[in-house]
Amino acid sequence: MTDPLLDIQALSKSFGALRATADVSLALVPGEIHALIGPNGAGKSTLIQQIAGGLAPDAGRVILDGRDVTGLNTADRARLGLGRTFQISALAMENTVLQNAMLGSVGAARNAWRFLQPVMGDARLRKQAEASIERVGLEEAANTPVSALSHGQRRLLEVAVALTLDPKVFLMDEPMAGLGAEGTARMTDFLGDLRKEAPILLVEHDMDAVFALADRISVLVSGKIIATGTPDQIRRNDDVRTAYLGDEVLP
Amino acid sequence: MTFKQLLAATCVVALGAGAQADGVKVGMITTLSGGGAGLGIDVRDGFMLAVRGNDDIELVIEDDQRKPDIAVQLADKMIQSEKVDVMTGIIWSNLAMAVVPAATAQGKFYLSPNAGPSALAGKGCHENYFNVSWQNDAFSEAAGTALSGEAGKVFLMAPNYPAGQDIMAGFKRTYEGEIAAEVYTKLGQTDYAAEIAQMRASDADQIYFFLPGGMGISFMKQYAGSGVDKPVSGPAFSFDQGILGAIGDAAVGAKNTAHWSKDLDVPGNAEFVDAFQAEYGRLPSIYAAQGFDTGLLLASAVAKADVDDADAFRAALKEAEFQSVRGKFSFADNHHPVQDIYMREVIKEGDLVTNRIVGTAATDHSDPYGADCKL
């Protein structure tokens, strides 16, 4: 096994008496999709926040591409190669699709400190943004304001913005949510290819997609990882079945 | 050009060149809206009473909202658009400092019906600037003289801004006795419990304070309720007719210095008080008296000289030949008043809280800054 690009070591986080994250370790190696699943309230959001830098863990470390980023903020981690999409779209709603993607290009170029050149006239940034939009199939909507996009289109735009950053690692929070059958199928194909560029830590509720896509799956229950393994291993794991039965049926 | 300006312009044209040569156009910038409007309204009403029926005086009035930048803008308007010859009306020292130097530099006459910052009395004096009210320090200098020897240790209090510091400096300049303490409060302060506690604890025999407008009302009411019984005095600004009604019995007995009082027994004063009351339904204040005197002074000069002959008009103003409701009135070389300043006491006449004169605090008082003035 190659060295992990994202290595989460024994993260813990408590809110008062509640242990939201208990000693969680996870690794993401090049070329894989590692899915994180778990019932509602298992602590997935808290864990993602700690990985992305929105929340400081009480203990443990986050290693990104060999570098300890535990003490860094969200923006620093993004610059070091963490590409993230959100469960609830976090986009500049008044801006167009292209402008949102351009924001990604500006971030990737690490240069927002230019005040007088029109950003839309920068051919290099624009090319990068347009390429990303095209990859997710939003080129038709390039000049549409985000507020006028459908829910599914916004998910795609989230991915497109992450693509502009050319990240080392993707952290995707429920990219399939609200996409519908056809959209989910397209996204599944897309992510399947994307893993070759950079591995994906995928948090997803859609179990069909998870089991179709994931190389490995970790199951988070009550803040703890109760199992990690291939889809087959997880399917057969008794603890997982106990945790999940009655909630969702594993395919 | 606004409709109003158009109207004004038409009037000037209609009156013809003859009227222009004889008459004088006066621009009054004063505070007519907001919290400080009472003073401006008194000055305006007093002035209008004095020039009522005088066809030689054309008056333009504007509201400065007590904002220096608005006052400057209005002064520009008066000078550039209305083409006034004489300006007057400003109540506050800081507004006067913003307007007067530029106006006099442009050859306009300015008659101050209130406020006399020391800068305009000394080095910054100007041949076209006439102060018809008082230099800021005048009342407190007179009070210092009058209280010397009888007040013992004095506790001084004023807001922390130039006029407050000037007035306290005026008192200290003439007071021959000990100052127990000197306290400067925040401008606009409304609660004086802390200062009153200091007064109670200090060994002062007497309180001398300057708190204009609402600040004085708040202080006097709170002082009355505190049980501290040291005698209180101050310049007339905190005990004037416009605010005595709001202080009520709490003010009774307080001594204050002023150049005028409604019971001052000089020719014309009783008539002025009656006429003002008849016209506006309230008693005149010192501000109204100052406005009235300013109007009389202007009318006296207009009767003698043509404003287009600036030297003659200036000389006519300097002579100050009018019957001031203050009695004696003349200008010192720096064009600031030489006048008597009286000690007044707040009394109750029936239900009415008002002032009466109890003595003369200073005779032929003039300000100490004239020495620096090169006129």
Partner: protein, 305 residues
């Protein structure tokens, strides 16, 4: 400075804090429940004081004057809420600031138009005039003790109202989630009018109580408004407890700063510059306090993000 004087000054600080609390409580309630920045709160304070002065002059009864202040300010509050404020709830803070600033202009000048440009007379009732002697020999104005008492009673009353009553539950629910409370079948627009009237009545009462020992004049509300904002921001917006703690902190800082700073500075400079510099610094002190609190607690002492 003697210990006794220091104690008296602390008492003065607490008392001025309580006066501020009366004003700040309504402001923080309105902000907490409706998310509204109401600059016109100072005008309601002024309306209360003018109503009290007018009724006291007509009837000679201070109690009737207080009732008048409550009624007038609450009525004005209802009119303003229904006529203007209601349209501002879903606007951003900027629109609220501008609209309520416009209301200040209208209400201030309207009051001046009705009552004239000169300050009005309103005095403490004869029974409360003059000082009482406290243990330790401090002579303290009786009326100020009554203000402290009224303020504390109102504070307790508000805590009970919010914590224990049906209306309080609705208010708290409204703070948390507007849709939820509407879904529960509560008439939200009536609730908002009620809360606004309550806040207005508190401001009006504060105006009347404070007006008796201060100056009842047009524009009296604005300095207090700024102070009340300082108070609720220090305390954390929406928190009654924060408003109380913030008010006491501001009252103490303002009072003691004005007394102690010139004293402290007289050790390092001559007396006259110590008084001017000291009082200059003292007038900035509460704003420094607010800035420091916000730098370390960006949502105030008891605020939630």
């Amino acid at each position: 400075m003697t210990t006794l004087l220091l104690i008296e000054q602390v008492l003065n600080g607490l008392q001025s804090g309580i006066m501020l609390f009366l004003m700040a409580a309504g402001l923080t309630l309105i902000f907490g429940v409706m998310g509204l920045i109401n600059l016109a709160h100072g005008s309601l304070y002024m309306i209360g004081a003018f109503a009290a002065a007018a009724v006291a002059a007509a009837t000679g009864s201070f109690l009737l004057a207080l009732i008048a202040s409550l009624v007038a300010a609450a009525a004005a509050g209802v009119v303003i809420e229904v006529g203007v404020i209601r349209r501002l709830y879903d606007r951003d803070h900027l629109d609220q600031v501008l609209a309520t600033f416009a209301l200040i202009l209208i209400l201030s000048e309207g009051t001046r138009w009705l009552f004239g440009s000169f300050p009005l007379y309103l005095d403490v009732p004869a029974a409360l005039a003059g000082p009482v002697t406290l243990p330790g020999g401090i002579a303290y104005p009786a009326y100020r003790l009554v203000i402290i008492l009224v303020g504390l009673v109102l504070a307790v009353g508000l805590f009970l109202l919010i914590g224990r009553t049906r209306i309080g539950i609705q208010i708290r629910a409204g703070e948390a989630d507007r849709e939820m409370i509407a879904a529960l079948g509560v008439n939200i627009s009536r609730l908002y009018t009620l809360v606004f009237a309550l806040g207005a009545a508190l401001a009006g009462l504060a105006g009347a109580l404070v007006g008796a020992i201060q100056s009842v004049q047009v524009g009296m509300g604005e300095p207090v408004l700024i102070l009340a904002f300082v108070v609720i921001v220090i305390g954390g917006i929406g928190s009654i407890k924060g408003a109380l703690v913030g008010a006491l902190l501001v009252g103490l800082t303002d009072t003691l700063g004005g007394v102690l700073l010139p004293l402290a500075l007289s050790g390092i400079m001559d007396a006259s510059s110590a008084t001017t510099v000291g009082s200059a610094l003292a007038s900035m002190l509460i704003y420094v306090l607010m800035a420091v609190v916000l730098i370390f607690r960006p949502t105030g002492l008891y605020g939630t993000a």
